[in-house]
Symmetry: C2
Subunit: 421 residues, 2 copies
């Protein structure tokens, strides 16, 4: 009897992570000789520890297929990293207990760099704990900062939303600037990497409009330099769009704005770069301005998904399963760019250890010499990732995003005490 | 020889104001016996005063037709209200001078309540200054606060964007809430009227998900009451979405948050309700949260326009012209709801004086008894306004929004001195 497969989602979700889920589920079901049943853990690895195993056979097949166009994390996500096997042995014993109880032999973990570390740790359970488990990572992050892959599923759709919103709002500012708003500030996500901020530049047309200054986390914020360029843009065009990454840093390396220094999982929650910039610009230049912080709106905007992104998200889900069938273990599927013009891509795979905890920032050669824009090479890299539309179905004017029923399998292990791990 | 027509845009623009422009231009051109050439003023009434008259015959016909799907104000907008004819006679003399120089007999002004006041004042030029001019208003505002019309073009599309974004981001929060974000705050526009905030409720499905608290400008903010309901929602569902109008007020009537008290045109620029609410919730409950201020993004989001809204915007543009042909003067076309189920509408018209400076807030019977939601009557009213999609064409992954060339007619009047009006 083949072992069962378990799929789970981790970290910040994206507009297309569920397309990867569907890719995994569909592919597992297409290989009954290799896999038993496909289950999903609720809330990522936490759901394994807490033995919350969702029975996908209880779901309407149409709902599962609709995952391809449904944003959010249908099975629940978590911010939780497994500890070191030496110091947190109880965690691994518990994982084995739950895996064994549900006869899980395959674990597919859909997440970013931190989640790949967790997947890599699960992959070592076989050798360290004697329970045979094949762990595979499925890439996902709007930040586009995973190593070894040409692009990260989730990024292209967020990038498309940002570039579209910049194009649209800039027309608004352009029509208003004579007697009203001259500066529009859009704050986008990106703690360490400026990929999403860079995508805003795609909104610029051949004639360089709209005038735009991008503030990357990779480029220390130089107030005087920025204000000079802002005034120049306004002098020339009458208005300017400023796109700022949430992770913008001061010259001393501190964050330009920190909303909350610490939370329980030691992540820093950022936000508020735009209002701080607004205050600065208002004080120093007197220009009338508007600002926006799109936050989750940018990463959940499935209504404007990039078709390439949806297809790649689905493809890495399938490739994770098919790689296992082909005999691979402890790997993560990656997107490879086969050709730039026309854009062609394929799916390869790399060892999990190569991507765990790796962060890939915007390379210096992708940032223009003045520090406020992108180079032609960056534009060439980004453009295909936002291409194509993939509209969800609509009902009563709103996209239809069916929810899974979420039926849990009966628990077979002793309940976890809160202090146990 | 028939007199020429002049079209102009005023106030905050919308995703569909250019559809009205196209309706006016197309209809004027369809009635050569009634109208000479169709011109547009740059930057609204200011462009008339400054004699910036755009020659639309210089535009590519495809670009003009593309106005139907292009957001922003293609001809430039302004925030400028004409003064009282008794005290600002120079303004009216200048208008007559420019109208006469370009043989303008018809003035179509596309704007909100304040702009209808300007249109009404222009309409009186004939009797007060002896220069015959027919002035017609074309309704537009995302705030949906114009009187006498069932809906305001621009509102439906912004409402659709807000409801869609709430549905999408709520799925994000739902998947995150176990170990991370439990509250998501979305700040939407709406200085005095809660129509846009109300539209967020359309994102709720039959089962009441997502849990949502709406903070209307019409309902004084009661901190304790709000926090109690927030904690109840989180206790029941694990998370909550808070939608706050920028015009939220304290019990004493002051604004919950004012970004900038005054600007040169005496409008108050709001913003920052979401970060202030975030601070309050974080301090009082400790819940992890995210917040977003969509600002211009919501009103420029042509990529997600409501088809009904686009059609109504186009229809009021055409009706403005056709009303003139039918012999009406000094009026504004309005949308009339003929039938609720199925939704059917027609275009009527009302005198400009009836809509100038009128603001229509959310009626009390549209707000649920607890003050945080909408009633079934409000839902019935709102639902058809966001229905249907009307996607713009895309190129390289982004919507195509062609710009007009903007060729100015030769000036025939003496130049205006800055201090003259």
């Amino acid at each position: 009897m083949p072992k069962n497969a378990l799929y789970a989602q981790s970290g910040g979700v994206t507009a297309v992570i569920n397309a990867s889920a569907w890719g995994v589920i569909e592919a597992v079901r297409a290989h009954p000789a290799h896999f038993g049943t496909c289950y999903a853990a609720r809330n990522g690895i936490l759901g394994v520890l807490e033995e919350e195993i969702l029975d996908l056979d209880e779901e309407d097949p149409l709902t599962l297929a609709a995952l391809r166009h449904t944003p959010g994390g249908a099975f629940g996500s978590c911010r939780f990293d497994l500890g070191d096997p030496q110091t947190h042995r109880a965690q691994y014993e518990r994982l084995v207990e739950v895996f064994r109880a549900h006869d899980i032999g395959y674990f597919f973990y859909n997440g970013g760099g931190g989640s790949m570390d967790t997947a890599a740790k699960v992959a070592r359970i076989g050798e360290e704990m004697g329970y045979p488990i094949t762990a595979v990572g499925v890439p996902k992050t709007i930040d586009n900062d995973l190593g070894a892959t040409d692009a990260c599923p989730g990024f292209g759709s967020a990038a498309k939303f940002i570039a579209t919103s910049v194009r649209e709002t800039s027309l608004d500012v352009e029509s208003a600037h004579t007697t009203s708003t001259r500066v529009f500030i859009l704050e986008v996500m990106g703690r360490h990497a400026g990929w999403l901020a860079a995508a805003a530049a795609l909104a610029q047309e051949y004639d360089g409009r709209p005038p735009m200054l991008i503030l990357f986390p990779e480029v220390p914020f130089d107030k005087a330099h920025f204000l000079t360029h802002l005034q120049m843009a306004i002098h020339t065009h009458g208005y300017c769009v400023v796109v700022a990454a949430e992770g913008l840093k001061n010259p001393d390396g501190s964050l330009f704005s920190v909303a909350q220094s610490h939370d329980i999982y030691a992540y820093t929650q950022l936000g508020g770069v735009a209002p701080r910039l607004a205050e600065l610009i208002r004080t120093e230049t007197g220009h009338k301005l508007h600002w926006s912080v799109v936050d989750y709106v940018q990463r959940a905007a499935r209504h404007l998904a990039s078709r390439v992104d949806v297809e790649q998200a689905y493809a890495v889900g399938r490739a994770a399963v098919e790689g296992v069938v082909a005999g691979h273990r402890s790997f993560m599927p990656v997107i490879r760019r086969e050709s730039q013009q026309p854009y062609r891509w394929s799916v390869g795979h790399v060892p999990l250890d190569q991507v765990a905890n790796v962060e890939r920032g915007l390379p210096p050669e992708y940032i223009s010499p003045d520090g406020f824009g992108i180079t032609a090479a960056c534009r060439d890299y980004l453009r295909p990732l936002i291409s194509g539309e993939d509209y969800p179905p609509y009902e009563n004017g709103l996209p239809c995003y069916p929810r899974i029923r979420g039926v849990l399998r009966a628990q077979r292990c002793p309940q976890l005490r809160a202090d146990e791990l």
